[in-house]
Symmetry: C2
Subunit: 338 residues, 2 copies
């Protein structure tokens, strides 16, 4: 009980395999009546194209590589989710590979040629490489689109992190806050993303515009995780002149800050304002004011651009910068009067 082949279809339709191949793929130069006959035969036999054979013959794999610090991070999962919906519709399989750790990244680089051979295109999510590493990435040898960072050679889908950081900070300044703390990324530069420093630059920008000093003592690391937010707030509050407001570079850290504040009996937003980043689904129930990025749309946009590329067309824009908008909730309020 083998799978029927294209020859079986050709025989029962009374045509050649070439014609079957054409008819099934909606290529031109097939008479309507012939096409119908082929389609009927195919249906009758319950025929399906063998993907492996098709791939070998055509040279196209009909699969897209997803290169990302995969599975587990909210951001990546959402992007992938958005991309999947578009790419699946376009008939592409998704092949995933993880680059979260140093090892998995270098293992990816080791297998990059092999990886590149099994895909027609790639979506590169949250990968920050330059120089030699970027050169290695290019040995992929297929069209790619990057998400989260503009890597130069590829079309990119990003947000303006600096601007968003400034806007978050300005919101706090507008509320009358004058000492605004920052809970951000990591000093672990071995794997560094430029995102934290951009958001920090935005914080700096906003302070400067307001004529406020950017005190380095107001900047702590939070590693983008909940307990990073907890520890970060603890550190900030132990300073001589603690901030009355905090900009956290992710909602998870904002959540941690919220927890720590509560633990210390600090009332939010009366005693302390907190603004996060992402608009994670937990932010609404916890009333966290945040900078919203529409991650699903980022994913679908990336997929759409990649698809355009694969169709041989030139995308209208190669550098898409998505909006980030302030969502006001209950975690921010007027600066306390002293």
């Amino acid at each position: 009980m083998r799978h029927p082949t294209i020859e079986d279809v050709a025989r029962t339709a009374g045509v050649s395999v070439a014609t079957v191949s054409r008819a099934l793929r909606d290529l031109p130069n097939v008479a309507v009546s012939t096409r119908d006959r082929v389609l009927t035969a195919a249906r009758e036999l319950d025929y399906e194209i063998d993907p492996q054979a098709s791939r070998l013959a055509s040279g196209r794999t009909m699969t897209i590589g997803l290169i990302a610090p995969l599975f587990g991070t909210w951001y990546v999962d959402r992007v992938v989710n958005g991309a999947e919906s578009v790419l699946a519709d376009a008939g592409y399989d998704l092949l995933i590979t993880s680059t979260r750790t140093r090892e998995s990244l270098s293992s990816f680089f080791d297998r990059i040629r092999s990886f590149g051979r099994r895909i027609d295109g790639a979506l590169v999510i949250d990968l920050y490489v330059h120089g030699a590493d970027l050169a290695r990435l290019e040995t992929l040898g297929v069209p790619a689109v990057t998400v989260g960072e503009d890597l130069g050679p590829y079309p990119s889908i990003t947000i303006d992190n600096r601007r968003a950081g400034a806007e978050a900070t300005r919101h706090l300044i507008d509320l009358g806050h004058r000492r605004i703390g920052l809970i951000g990324g990591s000093a672990d530069s071995s794997f560094s993303s430029p995102v934290p420093e951009r958001r920090e630059q935005g914080w700096r920008d906003a302070l400067e515009t307001a004529g406020l000093p950017a005190d380095p003592g107001l900047v702590v690391e939070g590693e983008f995780v909940v307990d990073g937010g907890e520890r970060g707030l603890a550190r900030l509050l132990s300073a001589d002149d603690p901030p009355t407001a905090i900009f956290c570079m992710s909602d998870y850290m904002a959540l941690g800050a919220l927890i720590e504040a509560r633990r210390r009996g600090i009332e939010v937003p009366r005693d302390l304002s907190i603004v996060g980043f992402d608009d994670h689904e937990l932010s609404r129930p916890f009333g966290i004011t945040t900078m919203r990025q529409d991650v699903d749309t980022i994913g679908t946009t990336a997929a759409t651009v990649l698809n355009t590329l694969l169709c041989g067309d030139t995308p209208a824009v190669t550098q898409t910068v998505h909006d980030v908008t302030l969502v006001k909730r209950e975690s921010t309020g007027p600066a306390p009067v002293r």
Copy 2:
């Protein structure tokens, strides 16, 4: 600048392509010196096996299908993460397909034969099908392992939801609680998982064992999301004789309950005890007592069993039931005295 083929390697190594094929795949019947020569030639030419050609010729695709309500749910992402680490090491690509919605499920069923042809095996996560749907699933035509539910024909990796539900409830009973609410799943039976009803049965079991009535008024739906927990608690507290403790079938709902309790000025655990399920990473910072399931291990176990199957071996056990353990934190305490 084409890719070198096996023939190129054969030529420079001075052997036949068959020998190259054997040598490269570590098959027996190759002289050590020959193998060395081949390996050297391959390295020199920077040769890599063409996966498409290899697949067509061998009939094996070296890819595993991941069938899951993918991306976005904590549970699935963790399972996939665990599975990926094992399967990637075994040289398998992962092909993902989503079944979250009714449509995506039926679209999956429409493409199931085609899907089955591009994989050597499948990991079926959190898919609850029976009867005709199960029969359709079997048309996949490849070995599979199920996670989350024992579907009958396949080896399965599960937890004992009933027992875990009972244990959570017993913990509350042991603390002196006599009215114990339940925030659980959904009545939307079109897509029903048996998991909620099993956990509810466990709740019932524990109450019965303790000689306590299982008041249907104590059971509300929470949809496994945060605001479901919020609304659920609100509903439960509006009853005549509200519960002093709640068992939530997920940590997300427990979190929602915690939020709602706080909103109402109800102190946890003094006035109300809450136990969750999962041991989500947020549960520790929020001090939520929970039933911990080791989701990463579930994923690796599933992958390992599948791998065994694909090697043609019979797995030692076909029904693996993973432990669920009570993690006591700060959200549960003695029942309030009245």
